[in-house]
């Protein structure tokens, strides 16, 4: 049996040994790989899909594809990055199958108040106080809802960058877009969330 062992210069990580074992025929070990990522992937699904059953479908479909294609894994990237590339593709495919309206674009201009509008010149309490004094279950749900209300292509970027903590380069590779595009989408997604938080905390106008 031939297996794709990491070659010199390839990305070996904490999962490489387990993947080698699975690919050398120990299929039962695949569940160990699932256990490492099921919780993270489920939460990625919750943020991406809006409901629990879709998140569960996303996890199952992602692991099904991982199982199917693990033999082709070339260690050219970390396994985690490859996993999220598959999960991201599953999300996009799901959306194409659904009957959602076309995605809307976010422009930088929409976050800039019209000239003459009042602007915020004092740091609001929610940004000035220690985070543990601000963050509670209700706010946590508000942030989650705000993330879910982002158009998908912005949501994918902010979840990968700010929650899953992939770098700009890694996010670009996962989504097969340029790093510059990642930065543009991330900035607009963050500004969108900032506005939602300002609305939640009392409709305070934004800047500049």
């Amino acid at each position: 049996m031939t297996t794709n062992k990491p070659k010199p210069g390839k990305k070996k990580d904490d999962d490489s040994e387990l993947i080698e074992a699975i690919n050398s025929g120990q299929k039962k070990l695949f569940f160990d790989l699932v256990k490492r990522y099921q919780h993270r992937l489920y939460n990625f699904g919750l943020r991406m899909c809006r409901d629990k059953s879709d998140a569960e479908d996303l996890v199952q479909e992602t692991f099904f594809n991982v199982f199917k294609y693990l033999k082709n894994f070339r260690y050219e990237t970390k396994f985690k990055n490859w996993l999220y590339r598959i999960a991201g593709s599953v999300c996009i495919k799901k959306r194409r199958k659904s009957k959602f309206a076309p995605e809307r674009e976010l422009s930088l201009e929409e976050f800039i108040p019209k000239e003459g509008e009042p602007v915020q010149t004092e740091l609001p309490g929610w940004a000035a106080m220690p985070i543990d004094k601000v963050l509670n279950a209700e706010l946590s749900d508000t942030v989650q809802s705000a993330i879910q209300s982002l158009p998908e292509k912005y949501r994918l970027v902010i979840v990968l960058r700010d929650i899953e903590e992939f770098s700009t380069e890694e996010t670009a590779q996962i989504l097969k877009i340029s790093p510059a595009n990642v930065k543009v989408r991330l900035h607009r997604a963050r500004l969108f969330l900032k506005e939602k938080l300002q609305e939640y905390f009392g409709n305070e106008p934004s800047y500049p």
Binding site: K27, K28, F30, F31, V34, Q38, H39, R40, Y42, N43, L46, K52, E56, V59, Q60, F63, F64, F67, L108, I112, P113, E115, G116, E117, P118, V119, Q120, T121, E122, L123, P124, W126, A127, A128, I131, V134, L135, L139, S140, V143, Q144, I147, I158, D162, I163, T168, K183, L186, H187, R190, L191, L193, K194, L197, Q198, P205, S206, Y207, P208
Partner: protein, 82 residues
Amino acid sequence: MSRHTHDMKICLAIFAKLSEYIDNELDELTCQDIERHARECIRCKTCLDTLKRTIDLCRNTGDKPLPEMFSFRLKEFIQSLS
């Protein structure tokens, strides 16, 4: 709250780069320009700080537990594959 009356050109240029500044993805000179401007412009400083806090909140919302029933079903599904 106040009326925004000063020249917005610099503010707008900085506004477009705030995320890259927060992520340390800008060159040193640009960072210094932003810091200098933020010391003088309360609006930009407020925007920068509220954006930073938005990111902090996003990172700290926490995860939901994996539902036990789903965990069980997933295990069965994986076992059916191998």
